[in-house]
Amino acid sequence: MDFQLTDDQRALRAGVRELLVRRFGRERLRAAVDPPEGEGSGGRVAVGGLDRALWRELGEAGFFALRLPEERGGVGLGLPEAVLAFEEAGRALLPGPLVATHLAAGEVPGAATGECVVAAVDGTLVEWLDEADAVRGDVTGAVALRSVDPLTPLHRVPRPAPPDPVASLLTAAEQLGSAARTCALAVQHARTREQFGQPIGAFQAVKHLCSEMLVRVEVARAAVYAAAVTGDPLDIAAARLLADDAAERGARDCLQVHGGMGFTWESDVHLHLKRAWSRARRGEGAAAAEEALAQDLLASAARAGT
């Protein structure tokens, strides 16, 4: 058993991170969020469009075709590699229907290369419906929401799509990346922001918030990576519960550490929190995952013969 990243996996993760830092760094993120001069203000911004050039670059880098077999033009890697790539996307707050397009690679023409933007019904919501070139699932009767997340336009649909464990796992990976990022942002702030004559990170109340954030990240990481290796739906359900929790609570705690600054539009913290909320709505939701995991306990007790 060697439950650690291989050298190739480390290289892949570093490559995706480097691409995203270069193409979707903080300036680009803020440009996507903040309205041009004279168009609204504060939380009333119109959602910006999708960066098609970036989408094609992701396609060229193999982001969407990562799991497509080589004979079909893909990269031929597996779920663990996809999870590492999506973790980076979550860390960078990369917008767009990433999961839907990734899952459509090989089935919807142009999805694998990033030429085509694919949206899909996930749970009772569709992300990026108006920007999509192709849509999977029944979107009859879709109603637009004024999305809480400025970088994720949302429609609500009357008929939810059947759950897809792989979509749920990739969502968990994005949540994990976001949780790791908010932990890092909180620590960075706590090290430099001074109050009462010292960095606030020297105070236990702040320190303990940060360490709890890290603990949630590391526990979620172990669960998400393991689920990527086994592909087992129950492992995925468990990983998703922990990753959703790590992302949502991590963003909240990060906001708290940032104090008044964290409550401003200028801080990135709210973007992580809002995205974490919208991702958490994908798929069947926590209740179904908890029910499935509860049923599993009865089954495992039966298996053990006790």
Binding site: F3, V187, K207, E218, A239
Partner: protein, 384 residues
Amino acid sequence: MDLSYSDEDEEFRARLREWLGEVLPGLPPKPSADDWPARRAYDLGWQRLLYDAGYAGLHWPVEVGGRGATPTRHLIFLEETEKAGAPYVGANFVGLLHAGPTIAAEGSAGQRARWLPPVLRGEEVWCQGFSEPDAGSDLASLRTRARRDGDDYVVSGSKIWTSHAEVADWCELLVRTDAKAPRHRGITWLAMPMDAPGITVRPLRTLAGSAEFAEVFLDEVRVPVANRVGEENDGWRVTMVTLSFERGTAFVGEVVACRRVLGELAREARKNGRWDDVPLRRRLGRLNAEFRALWRLTQWNVSESERVGGVPGMGGSVFKLRYSQARQELYDTAAEVLGPEGLDLGREWTVDRLSSLSYTIAAGTSQIQRNIVAERILGLPKGR
């Protein structure tokens, strides 16, 4: 990332399972919690069985009598023994998991030859003399003092919360050998024979009602200088080695046990009708997610230590923080499942619920662990 085990590891698992199937039915019944002599005999008997079958000191280096097994194989051992319902390490806890590994890492050749084989053979029990009434979480403020007199240290003071003190042969003892040095610098690590004159052991009742640990009073106790592990006044560093073992590997088997208990809880709820309580059922589901993740984190930490080799790292603090909390939630949920019987001391889960309260305190409180994570992993400044 690979969670599969090698053929050799799977063969090891199969042989171990077969052996457990043969030997466990013949074990004597488990003694009662307060019958210390019987507990000692039972735990040492189990250790002797392990030794004779070649499973003692699996994770210890070969040079000190261990089997030099990989962390992965040790993990398999802990997983399979727990799944089979084998006895827990019990009174051998300190010897096998703290003092032994510390002596193996820091002791002289002679010290290793003297102290390690009896631990492995199930002949001697160790206890831990670290904490004092005014030095628990703030361990470096310990006051038990030792002065040199010829070839001996003469030790006076008191220790508290000393598990297994009543039946221990040896105590891994921390003493202050230089009162003037900065407090972390004047500490020395000694192996104290528990039959030395001047030692008084007074059992201390826990909130669970059992005499799980004791106070130990030391009045001019003579401990040979030869029993010192590491240099004089270098005990703090030696102790950090000990604590990393404590936090690193001590809870592996327990996670497996908690997962088993969780399955039993679900079955009990199904039987007594509590299963129809939706919030409770969902809580059980979430605990399943929690303990699955803790098992994965265990595998992650074991893999990591296998890759870097040797002493477990900071991951132990991350694990301990989450596990101690999860264990308390598990038994709080057990009480929910039991209903009124959750107040019945005749139910094992009620007693386990009481015991679980110590997990966020022992081996470094959760608050101390959070400081460790914040300062040593996240690099936040030390508080004043």
